[in-house]
Symmetry: C2
Subunit: 368 residues, 2 copies
């Protein structure tokens, strides 16, 4: 078995699937759901990469959710993202209610071109469904020499997951932030986090796998700490990261995305801010100074319970390098659900077979 | 006595000083230290406002540190910030080694003009000393209809205060972030936080006042939790906010500020990113939607131990409104130090009188 770092304790085993098989399977499922071939492949590659990076919550398990969301009309599989300019001269990307990954891939291209040409770019991305692993996009922008900041939110009416600091009711989404910039010899520094103590996906992943969560991330409906993922679905809430700080980050993203860019018609609205670092510092000099900073941190003595101090972004890249040789580790139950889905599609049946595969109850949608 | 919310338990009393007396006293001290009158007044007004807002760690107590830093040559009192353009067309502000508050005030003006004219602005601020309370600047930009993001760092060689996540040695500064944008009827939403569990200033404030700190913010030299501010000066460290998340924010700011903008010649380098929200949404519509979001959050039932859910930025504004009527509350010891300082200056003696007023030991400078 390949060891996968994961935020939940998994009792069941994982299967290791060759990368090309995983991508082909995922592409086939998405094409059968109505995605155009190139879009299906780009989504499949993104998910497979997230699984390879060890970010299981944003990996291949998401396919089941996406297929349900295509079936229910929540996202439109055939939509193509489009670059637009509003009447006040602002450039933005309209996802036309489609999947967020192709829209974000387009945003990366536009942002890099604008930043290279003009020094900076501010780009809104609207009318999109789930955007996958944000760090993949900011890292890709940083790989080309830019600082990239992405924040988004705006749909708390459908995604009340997180309690505000000092509150005992789930009211906000997990509104994530990602920031990346060129780093040292080992590539960009990549920050990518939910403003809640955990990304919502981990709750579904834990429930799906029959696991439990750490003891300081969830509250039940009475405001008491709990480790049982089911308590979340019974009126509980995720706590904000660092109390007032994570709450403030989530709220800023919510106001930005709904009041400034909104309404968030599909899932969330996003702002991607890109700055060309080479206008300030030549790339080799920046790499050299960054490497000095990062290697100093890598040499910091570890706290008891930790192996070492890590650089954000490096764990995912190291995981990908190791996993690529053996294959993608997928929880056995997830993989068998995906194969069943592919089989039903091939038989010409409704992909979900009329069942709610993800098991999200009473209109509370599969998590972001 | 006026009640001041503060992160440390203060045994001593506070005195309440009329606002104009506080500003005049502070202006006089800064002028005697070599600041030009207009600059002295702008710094004094900023500090007095921070004290009025209840942000004591960034209020009038900072004067003592500033005077020492002017005396030691760390900051130049007579410097004027200057707008420059580099050979690659990038506009930036050179603080010429002077105080950061006048440089940030200039940045606010330039950023607002650029964002209003072109939709967005990216502005580097370099060669500056302490910049005061960041939220004051981002709020001022947001008051004029813009989204404003400020991050900075870059001088860990002098400011090793915070342990990286998983490490047990102070290696990074508390590199703060501030983000503000137009809000509802009660003004902008203002995020302003250190990426450490507490801003370093609280440690000095607690020690200065003979108080103790909460039990989950500091580690001693052995990596054990402690509430004694003195342990910080004996080789301890502040913990990063939210573990890996606060650490990642601090590291991104450090790499940005030193490798991209650096070196940080005086204290820290800063990036101010400003986006005109009116290019996306008309101001009255944005205010109306923001107010809906914010009033919903204000109505969230409180957790045990909390009075209510707050909107970031409102506590400071409410505090200022209340305090303005009665005066600025200043710890008695701080105020008597300031009066003594003013007296010695009037007598023509060295302001610090040859003593290390702030009491920072063995070259570890007064905190940011």
């Amino acid at each position: 078995m390949v060891e996968v770092r994961s935020k939940f304790d998994l009792d069941d085993e994982r299967v290791v699937v060759p990368v090309d098989v995983a991508i082909e399977t995922a592409t086939g499922i998405l094409e059968h759901s109505g995605c155009r071939p190139a879009r299906a492949r780009s989504i499949a590659e993104h998910l497979c990469d997230a699984s390879l990076c060890g970010v299981e919550s944003h990996g291949l398990m998401r396919l089941i959710q996406y297929v349900e969301q295509f079936e229910s009309g929540y996202m439109h599989p055939g939509s193509e993202p489009e670059l637009k300019r509003n009447e006040r001269g602002v450039v933005w990307i309209d996802g036309h209610g489609g999947h967020g990954i192709p829209a974000m891939n387009l945003a990366v291209e536009v942002a890099c071109a604008e930043a290279s040409g003009r020094g900076a770019s501010v780009l809104a991305i609207r009318n999109v469904g789930h955007t996958g692993r944000l760090g993949a996009f900011t890292e890709s922008v940083a790989d080309r020499g830019h600082l990239c900041i992405v924040l988004g939110g705006g749909n708390r009416s459908a995604w009340r997951q997180v309690a505000p600091h000092g509150g005992r009711k789930a009211m906000l989404p997990t509104n994530p932030y990602s920031i990346a910039l060129p780093g040292g010899e080992r590539g960009p520094v990549v920050l990518d986090f939910a403003t809640a103590r955990i990304a919502g996906g981990w709750i579904y992943a834990a429930r799906d796998a029959g696991g439990r969560l750490p003891d300081d991330v969830l509250m039940d409906a009475d405001g008491c700490a709990t480790t049982d993922p089911e308590d979340y679905f019974r009126g509980g809430a995720i706590l904000p990261a660092a109390g007032a700080k994570g709450y403030a980050l989530a709220l800023v993203a919510e106001v930005m995305a709904e009041a400034m860019l909104g309404p968030a018609t599909t899932e969330a609205n996003w702002l991607m801010i890109t700055v060309d670092t080479s206008r300030y510092q030549q790339a080799p000099v920046m790499r050299c100074i960054a490497e000095e900073i990062l290697s100093e941190l890598r040499s910091c003595p570890a706290m008891p319970g930790f192996e070492r101090v890590e650089i954000p972004g490096e764990r995912e890249r190291e995981h990908r390098e190791r996993a690529r040789r053996s294959g993608v580790a997928v929880p056995r139950e997830t993989w068998s659900k995906l194969l069943g889905l592919a089989r039903r599609q091939a038989d010409g049946k409704s992909p979900a077979g009329g069942r709610n595969i993800s098991g999200a109850p009473d209109g509370r949608m599969m998590d972001r």
